[in-house]
């Protein structure tokens, strides 16, 4: 697999996952899994997690919309890690949201909230290091984008 193919696939996966998780939160709210304040809190936590990388991905695709790069081959370890961490990350977030709405995990909403926050710290750093070279940015650029979104002050 070349880095161009990997970039296209992982980029699309990330953006689609981002909006799918937002949709999941909203659907859970309408089904009665969350109260309105809980839903807004969840969105405020989850959206910035993805937003840093999503912004970079969308910007890259927009800037290179006419390109048809062939790319260079990347090794299996890199491909595996590049897929594994984002998939695990997004699955954990989605499961947290759904299981909490079904009352099958966590004692209360605060626990779920803290869990998601800890999850972000765990995954985003590694995901940033893996995805940054694909989209031609520094890893710090991804993290700073998220930090900027998290703390508007």
């Amino acid at each position: 697999m070349t880095d161009a193919e990997l970039r296209t696939r992982i980029g699309l996966f990330w953006v689609i996952t981002h909006f799918a998780i937002i949709a999941t939160i909203i659907v859970c709210f309408f089904l009665g899994g969350y109260e309105f304040p809980d839903m807004t809190t969840l969105l405020a936590i989850v959206v910035p997690m993805f937003a840093g990388i999503t912004t970079v991905v969308i910007r890259y695709f927009a800037q290179h919309r006419h390109d048809a790069p062939r790319g260079k081959r990347v090794n299996a370890a890199y491909v595996t890690l590049t897929w594994l961490l984002p998939v695990l990350f997004s699955m954990t977030i989605a499961l947290t949201i759904i299981l909490r709405a079904l009352n099958r995990a966590f004692e209360d909403f605060d626990q779920a909230k803290l869990f998601l926050t800890a999850l972000e710290a765990l995954y985003v750093t590694y995901t940033g290091y893996l995805l940054a070279p694909l989209f031609g940015v520094e890893p710090d650029a991804l993290r700073s984008a998220q930090e900027t979104k998290k703390s508007p002050l």
Binding site: C28, L31, G32, G33, Y34, E35, D38, A101, L102, N103, R104, E107, D108, F109
Partner: protein, 427 residues
């Protein structure tokens, strides 16, 4: 989290001296103020019953002032005597023979409008009913008398000024000043909440909440501060009591100002004066030509007797009923001699119908010691969201019902009281 306590009194006794809200009456001190001339109308001429003009004058000397004060106090004393007389009269009504008007009505089997219409009905109804009243009165006699709290009333000018302020605050025709009294070292302002529409306690409590929504959440605070200004005391010394007298149950609300917040205490009373209730029902059925035979009347009397004499039995019956009612959820019961503590969670659509929330209810039913005929029921409700059939853990019930679902909770409590008080009757 602000936690409200919902209190309901389930009165079972015929003549129990439950602190019922006073009927709308002339504000205390009004007559005395008129007598002494210490009135807002001070120097105006007012015609008396004979049409003569009476000129009121403010007291100008110290002896006159002292006399006016003495007269005011005497008026307050008279009102206390009137109140006691009313209790005595009620007790007489319950005994079924000493109060001429009421007893006359019931003995004739009518409410007064159809007197004598059914005098040919079977006498067994009358005797059964008189037995019923006698049993109730005997049970009432067991209960220790409650001493009225000493109170001193505010000047009539304060009440009038406050009423004027209420009228200008958009509360005209809704709230009326009943009394402003100094009770237990603080001023208690009692306002009567009423509406011209047909109402019950749920409608009136909703009306009050709508008023708060319309006139601002600080409405009660403003009312307290205004009265504190009128009385020239600190606001923390003023309690606001809003009474909505309805048929049964009725609702009452008390606001107290603490250092940090304004506490709100909702009471939902179910003043089941069984004697009066059965008397009215009996009279109505009698009047309508009901002919169930003497056995029916006797059955009512027997049931009445057991209800009146045993609050404990009703407590036990309540436990059985509530366990059954909450069977689909998780129920924890702590039953003690005079107290029943019941926590039920994992309930759906119990109070918040159609909301599909998981609900938790905490009920405390207390049989008041020394007054076996009264039960006090308190309810505290909370809820948690959730999809599917798995109930949330106990810690998840973090949202109190009394904030956004006040009408539902108070309506539920009213229904529950009605059901509980009929438990033994239905047995």
């Amino acid at each position: 989290m602000r936690k409200l306590l919902w209190v309901a009194v389930l009165g079972l006794q015929a003549c129990s001296l439950v602190s019922t809200p006073k009927p709308r009456s002339t504000a205390p001190g009004r007559a005395a103020a008129a007598d002494t001339g210490n009135s807002a109308e001070g120097d105006t001429a007012t015609p008396d019953r004979m049409g003569n003009k009476i000129v009121f004058e403010l007291p100008k000397t110290q002896p006159e002032l002292e006399l006016a004060i003495q007269l005011t106090q005497a008026q307050a004393l008279c009102q206390e005597v009137d109140l006691l007389n009313r209790y005595v009269r009620d007790a007489a009504v319950a005994r079924g023979g000493t109060e001429p008007d009421t007893t006359g009505e019931t003995a004739k089997g009518g409410t007064g409008t159809n007197e004598g219409k059914n005098t040919d009905q079977a006498p067994c109804h009358e005797s059964a009913f008189l037995n019923l009243l006698r049993d109730a009165a005997a049970a009432a006699a067991i209960a220790p008398p409650k001493t009225p709290r000493p109170r001193r009333f505010a000047p009539i000018s304060v009440c009038e000024s406050y009423a004027t302020w209420l009228a200008t605050s958009g509360l005209q025709g809704i709230l009326a000043v009943d009394e402003v009294a100094w009770v237990d070292h603080e001023w208690e302002v009692t306002l009567l909440l009423s509406t011209t529409e047909p109402h019950n306690e749920v409608h009136l409590s909703k009306l009050w909440n709508d008023l708060i929504a319309e006139l601002g959440p600080t409405l009660a605070l403003r009312m307290i501060y205004r009265m504190a200004d009128e009385l020239d005391v600190t606001p923390s010394a003023v309690n606001l009591r809003i009474v909505a007298e309805t048929t049964n149950p009725y609702w009452e609300l008390t606001y107290r100002l603490n250092d940090e917040s304004l506490d709100r205490l909702d009471h939902l009373y179910c003043t089941t004066d069984y004697t009066r209730q059965y008397r009215d029902e009996f009279a109505r059925e009698y009047e309508m030509g009901w002919s169930g035979g003497g056995s029916e009347g006797s059955e009512v009397a027997a049931t009445m007797s057991s209800v009146v004499t045993s609050g404990q039995r009703l407590l036990a019956a309540s436990e059985v009923y509530l366990r059954d009612r909450f069977a689909r959820g998780r129920v924890q019961v702590d039953s003690r001699p005079n107290i029943l503590l019941l926590t039920a969670d994992a309930l759906r659509d119990e109070v918040l119908l159609g909301a599909h929330r998981w609900e938790k209810l905490q009920l405390v039913i207390v049989n008041i010691e020394g007054d076996p005929s009264q039960l006090v029921v308190t309810i505290d409700g909370s809820y948690a969201p959730g999809i599917g059939s798995t109930p949330p853990p106990a810690k998840s019930y973090t949202r109190p019902m009394d904030l956004e679902h006040y009408p539902e909770l108070i309506g539920y409590l009213g229904d529950l009281l009605t059901t509980l008080k009929r438990l033994e009757v239905d047995k």
